[in-house]
Amino acid sequence: MNEPIVLTIDGREIAVPAGSGLLEACAAAGARVPTLCHLEGISSNASCGICVVEVEGARALVRACVTAAQAGMRVQTASERVMRARRAIVELLLANHPADCLLCVRNGSCELQAIAETLGPRKRRFSPTRPQGYADATSPGIVRDPAKCILCGRCVAVCRETQTVAAIHFAGRGARTRVASFMDRGLAESPCVQCGQCSVVCPTGAITERDDTQAVSAALADPSLFVVVQTAPAIRASLGEALGLEPGALVTGRMIAALRRLGFDRVFDTQFAADLTIMEEGSELLERLEHGGALPMITSCSPGWINFIETFYPALLPHLSSCKSPQQMFGAIAKTYYADKAGIAPESMRVVSIMPCTAKKGEAARLGMNSACTWWRDKGHTSPGYPDVDWALTTRELARMIRAAGIDMAALPEEDFDDPLGLSTGAATIFGTTGGVMEAALRTVCERLNGAPLPTLEFTPLRGVTGIKEALVAAGGRELQVAVAHTLGNARILLESIARGDSPYAFIEVMSCPGGCVGGGGQPFRQRETHRGDPGLEARKRALYREDERLGIRKSHENKAVAALYDEFLGTPLGTLSHKLLHTNYAPREGGSGS
């Protein structure tokens, strides 16, 4: 049924599947047609106009991103007429774009800059026509600077279509057109969940993460502070990409070495806390299955997801696991158990986390995320308050720090995490990809329920890229029906079903971002030039599964450092101390509408 069609692109005949877009067809013919607004998999609004090509017989140039490839079409992708039009479009975009590339965080990764460089207008012909607007720094995770916005609409599309949050939209018209939240207020007053997908797709520096690198550098330079760092699972599979290595390069050992060279006193692993999360969350699931509690239980590791359910589905909050995310568990344990054990004053300890995520910044600042301080005060300590996690940096921010310090990743040795909060299992590694938390939990929960080790540790139905995956798992003489969703649009579908009362699942994993944390809002910008799917995300995911297989210990309950933590300090999962340090609660959040 999908008979290929043949068309001629730049004088070369090419066969593509029927139904292909012209942009893909051009890519297949080896012609890289540039675009600043098109996004694979999301409807394009053809706003930028850079992708114009010449189609024989057509009166005007056509935009390749919204044109279907047709049999017999004769297309020119780089004729003089096409190039003249593209150059004029870039000139018009530059008229309203500040010329401060040297001071911009996207210098070197800006798609507009790259197109301006290749198409080559070399002076400004047009003066600005648009009011500049005000930068919005109200959100803990995301900063918007409308002056740099080229109105491509990618952020509006991902926010609305992928995430179904719709915190921002085009407002006004003509020269007054802008991307705005309701009443042009800051993101902090909008339903924005800080997932940061807008910052990943923004072609320019108009949407970025809040930059905390200077605060972290200052802490590293202060000899009175003991600065520890934790790295999320997904970082080891994506940091290399931000530093010029191929997508999917696994850089665990070199990442640790780079962090030591930046001056961190201890390099620990969020994966330690991911194993800890499985111990708590797995026990919580068993508890709910055996003694009652809201089912399905839903994972709580992804802070964008937490913001989402608090905003749009507050009535379903009892379904969330009460477990803090691994980032926050880590902070609470580092400043209590570890500080105590290592003899470090908790108030002079700083915890920095490296996260694939912009929402982690907001999570660290959440009310109640200062359990360590409360614990020490209960023991009679007096000191000004301090958070469990002081700063969360994105993968991109860490890459900038490494580049700024002149650290050559390729020349670094492979080093190991510090003990004891650096020990982890393969189960924790796969937390970084969609389906990974579920798989990690099942490895522990099924073994507990069955009373015997699992024949195989790979839950393949959970490993695909489908938006919602499900599996039926035999455990302890019963069948557990589980589901995994990535992107908030898919999470919404599962929530609607819970709200209707027809959700068949016992346990659901939700990650906010496409592909899970490997596709997080704080991850390196991806190569878009080819329009051939997204090899970057797939490669990052495969890297994590490779790491899981490589590790000798692949089940969270076999993590010896976690076992020692329970023996020496916490007691048992879901015990009193666990509840104080590792669990939290949720509250309805302002900003939602219509639900």
Binding site: H169, A171, M183, G594
Partner: protein, 172 residues
């Protein structure tokens, strides 16, 4: 014509409109229009936008997008009277810029940036000034609309008298 001239019951209530138009494409415009007319100061207040968004199941940012796209909708309270100066080509060549400046100065509005705002209102809420791209009355240029009535071949003098009549509580 000021909205107070409309008799209650002549227009369906906002709730009726929402019920009637909820699932129709374009229905939102009728609803927003009704909401604006129902407001004494002829604007879409934040409260009414929030109410409509909730009832229609539309994200606030999307509703704001629609409300800010059409210059017909006001996001700020409007004056008791409305003066619309045509800024089309014919009116422009026959002096509409002077008319706009005169209207602003007669009403005591310090600044109105045509390219950035759709309307400006006097501090005391007496009148709002707006511009329009064309009324389609080019033969009668320059044209000004005062409280819904088209005034043709307008001059600064005629405009001043009209505003004076409004101040005395009369009709322009």
């Amino acid at each position: 014509m000021p909205s107070t001239a409309k008799v209650q019951g002549e227009i369906p209530s906002l709730e009726d409109l929402i019920e009637r138009h909820r699932d129709k494409p374009g229905g939102l415009l009728a609803i927003l229009e009704a909401a604006q007319e129902a407001e004494r100061l002829r604007y879409l207040s934040e409260d009414s936008l929030r109410h409509i968004a909730r009832r229609m199941g539309i994200p606030l940012a999307e509703l704001y997008s629609v409300a800010t796209f059409y210059s017909f909708f006001n996001l700020k309270p409007q004056g008791l009277h409305t003066i619309v100066v045509c800024r089309g080509t014919a009116c422009h060549t026959r002096g509409s810029r002077e008319l706009l400046d005169a209207a602003l100065s007669l009403l005591g509005i310090a600044e109105f940036r045509e390219d950035e705002e759709t309307s400006a209102t006097t501090a005391d809420g007496f009148a709002s000034i707006r511009t329009v791209a064309c009324f389609g009355q080019c033969a009668l240029a320059p044209v000004v609309m005062i409280d819904g009535a088209i005034k043709s071949r307008m001059t600064v003098g005629k405009l001043a008298s009209a505003i004076e009549r409004l101040r005395k509580g009369g009709v322009a």
